[in-house]
Amino acid sequence: MNLRWDEFIITGDPLILGAQISIVLASIAIVGGLTYFKKWRWLWTEWITSVDHKRLGIMYILAALLMLFRGGVDALLMRTQLAAPNMELLNSQHYNEIFTTHGTIMIIFMAMPFLIGLINVVVPLQIGARDVAFPFLNNLSFWTFFVGAMLFNISFVIGGSPSAGWTSYMPLATNELSPGPGQNYYLLGLQIAGIGTLMTGINFIVTIFKMRTKGMTLFRMPMFTWTSLITMVIIVFAFPVLTVSLALMTFDRLFGTAFFTLHDGGMPMLWANLFWIWGHPEVYIVILPAFGIFSEIITTFARKTLFGYKAMIASVVLISVLSFLVWVHHFFTMGSGALVNSFFSITTMAIAIPTGVKIFNWLFTLYKGRIRFTVPMLWALAFIPNFVVGGVTGVMLAMAAADYQYHNTYFLVSHFHYVLIAGTVFACFAGLVFWYPKMFGHKLNERIGRWSFWIFVIGFNVCFFPQYFLGLDGMPRRVNTYLPEEGWFSLNALSTVGAFMMGIGFMIFAYNIYYSFRHSKRETSGDCWGTGRTLEWATSSAVPPFYNFAVLPEVKSIDAYWKTKEDGIETQQKKDYKKIHMPNNSALGFLMSVCLGIAGFGLVFHWYWIGLVGGILTLLCMTYRSFQEDDGYYVPVEKIQETEQKASAK
């Protein structure tokens, strides 16, 4: 690709210039800060090379929050552009780039990593394990995700962002119709991050199947572990489809093949099918763990066992199967025959049945409970009515004959934001607040938490509810402006107000992290909410030591920790410690991912020699790793005693 220097770095747009300046300033501040406080070694040994699942989880969550901020700013720019007819804040190209990156970032680099972060922190604790099955792989997964995300993110200042929508429909995304490096960023950023996700899937399936503590049978596993397990199974089945599809499109763009092109007999609609064969299960990858989080929180603060535990598991399994049978509902309008559309209409509507069962089970978990309205509980409760609104409109969309009128409109936009925000984002916030003391040793402030909750949730409804009506009134998605006579002004303006309220809610949430770090009381008890039910609350101190459990717990029923409290047994009382085997830290995961990132960056610009160098370095890292003899190490009994004493002295 022959690029001039001023095409390589994007110039001439004040918004992007502002972003460039702030990126440079932030980088200088980070590097300066780390150097001034002499934290480089700490960062390297404690975090970057760490294989501790809790630290990796925290890094996932931090990265996801960063991405939520980026995706949120994109959203606010779009909503400002649409606030009034004929607005000229963003031109068409810029707007297209922004909604493309907004969608991709929110799904791939925000929702999924946020949930994987929570899964990383919590699942090993919930099943009474000391780490995941493959700790090094876990570190590598994180870094490939992070490098993929960063590669995707630099696109808007270097070379230009993709602008063909997050679904990247062909032939729009071909070289002929989307020239420039933007689309390559999409392909390679997702490809690199996708590798990490697939490895996480394998890692957690093995972890959950093989590393459960004594007595933790499958039907004693907490709901969050169950939903995580099913999610990981979906990942393992769905992600290879994405990997192959992305590779095929990369070949089309870089090497002139014709899988999805207009010329030489390519089949553009094949891409749409492949994309949604991955893309629809992906929706459930980001919603099922959320269901698990809500189950944990609702049982904890209603102080009741989950109603219909086995029915809940059955619904999750059924949903995961159905999720692979409905992809055509994303393009009922493709002109497939009436029989095909009828089949996919019915399978799609059928998903509402297990989902409905879950909603009623949650309601009846609350029934006869003693409900405490803590901040995580508020998020979990707000999920129910909002998700129901998103769900019923989903059923409306599933009716193919009616979908011809909703497809590609704001009705659809509103529907998927209602399910993804009320489902996934509320769950991320709820889970973060709920497990925050487990990760950082103090709670988030409840009063500030309430403020951020109410402003966000009201803003969310103000933003998205009017969009149902905009859709019915004929407003298509992805338009960058509209005419005054189309009559969409008032609802759009209202929607924009709601979007800014959500932004304010998020800022308050972020402020709460800072405020609580400074002012919150430090937790001394592992069971900081007082009504914890599952094993993560049984660890010795507020922040679990790196080996999680000094003595692995034994499980006798579901809600294992609740049961031990009921029976009056103190789990950590036993003092006959044994030495604990733990894995060593490794820099290879980080290095390998950076090499992959270099290869990806080279390919984005068709600079094949850089791609080759990056690829060879990656292979060298893999070769080195495969010959490395690393059996980990043993934590001596004295060290355990010392750690446990320190914890109980708090």
Binding site: R4, M269, R303, G356, A382, V395, M396, F469, Y482, G487
Partner: protein
């Protein structure tokens, strides 16, 4: 909790009021296709509102009743299941899904054919081709072509044959009926009909890049006499479209004003059979689609009158047949649509 519900309901009402003065476009159908869809939508909304109401009421009652208080005699931590209840809330959704599936499936099938009321009339066939970022409408029987507007007779089914010259688009005229995709190298069919004289908005509903937002058109539904008069007038007075003009004005990405011609581009290309025609035309004319962030002057297009392709028809023939061969993969599809046509004809 009440607080939030109240605000929810309030915002719902405000939005309803604002739109309520005039029902949203999709629920103001002006033809039998849109009417069937509108009926189905209203039918489903009734079910959905019922479900929402049941859950919201149950939710509110439970939250109020089981809020943590000093005295809470109803607290029962052992309460963890009830098979009968679970069967009830599995069976009811099953019934609802069935109740929604039956009209959905019957409407899906009915939309594949011309509307029942006018099924005895021969449908008017219009080829609707999307090209970045314009709409090209060809009336093969009348041998006329319009760009970015559409004239149709009222009370007669219109059979749209949809295709695209480049990126995938979707033809959508909300008041006449739902959308379908336009895809290069393929053909989809869409029946629409207007029952009332008037002007309706149509547009591309599927994102196609830079000029997508402005890819709109107007549909004028005329009385049969007016329509016939317009056709006659166009056949006599509208200019002829040449292939050079077609390539230069319509195949190069960009927006154009409304145009009318007294012949159709089907004389030299059908994009259903030739998916790469637009790309080849762009290459012929020296159009370079640049990185949107590229700077510097845009290279000018070649003058078609200086290209052998346009001046010497013999060179053209060989070239087109070559490109057709490249698309052997779509032949099956083509045959299929022809077969369908025949059976359709027999049906009348």
């Amino acid at each position: 909790m009440f607080h939030r519900l109240k605000s929810l309901v309030l915002f719902g009402l405000i939005s309803l009021l604002m739109v309520g003065c005039s029902a949203p476009t999709v629920l103001k159908p002006k033809g039998p296709v849109a009417e069937q869809q509108s009926d189905l939508i209203v039918y489903s909304i009734i079910f959905m509102l019922t479900i929402v109401a049941v859950i919201f009421v149950l939710f509110t009652v439970i939250l109020v009743k089981y809020k943590d208080r000093k005295e809470n005699p109803n607290y029962d931590p052992k309460h963890e299941g009830n098979v009968l209840l679970e069967i009830v809330w599995t069976v009811i959704p099953v019934v609802i899904v069935i109740a929604l599936s039956i009209p959905t499936v019957s409407t899906i099938y009915s939309l594949e054919k011309a509307p029942v009321a006018t099924a005895h009339k021969e449908p008017l066939v219009i080829h609707a081709t999307s090209a970045n970022w314009k709409w090209i409408f060809s009336y093969p029987e009348e041998d006329i072509e319009t760009v970015n507007y559409l004239n149709i007779p009222e009370d007669r089914p219109i059979l749209f044959r949809l295709t695209s010259a480049d990126s995938m688009a979707a033809l959508w005229i909300p008041q006449l009926g739902g959308q379908k995709y336009n895809m290069a190298g393929m053909e989809t069919k869409l029946y629409l009909q207007a029952d009332h004289v008037g002007t309706y908005k149509g547009r591309n509903a599927n994102f196609t890049g830079d000029g997508f937002t402005n890819q709109r058109f107007e549909v004028h539904a005329l009385t049969e006499e007016d329509y016939a008069a317009w056709v006659e007038d166009t056949q006599e007075n509208a200019p002829e479209l040449t292939q050079a003009e077609y390539d230069l004005k319509l195949m190069i990405p960009g927006s154009v004003d409304e145009m009318t011609f007294s012949n159709t581009h089907l004389d030299w290309v059908n994009h259903v059979k030739n998916a790469s025609y637009a790309l080849e035309a762009r290459e012929r004319l020296g159009y370079i689609n640049r990185n949107p962030h590229a700077k510097g002057p845009v290279p000018p297009l070649k003058d078609p009158s200086e290209l052998e392709f346009y001046t010497n028809p013999e060179s053209r023939e060989t070239e087109t047949s070559d490109s057709n061969q490249g698309h052997g993969g779509h032949e099956d599809h083509e045959d299929m649509t022809q077969d369908e046509d025949m059976s359709h004809g027999e049906g009348h």
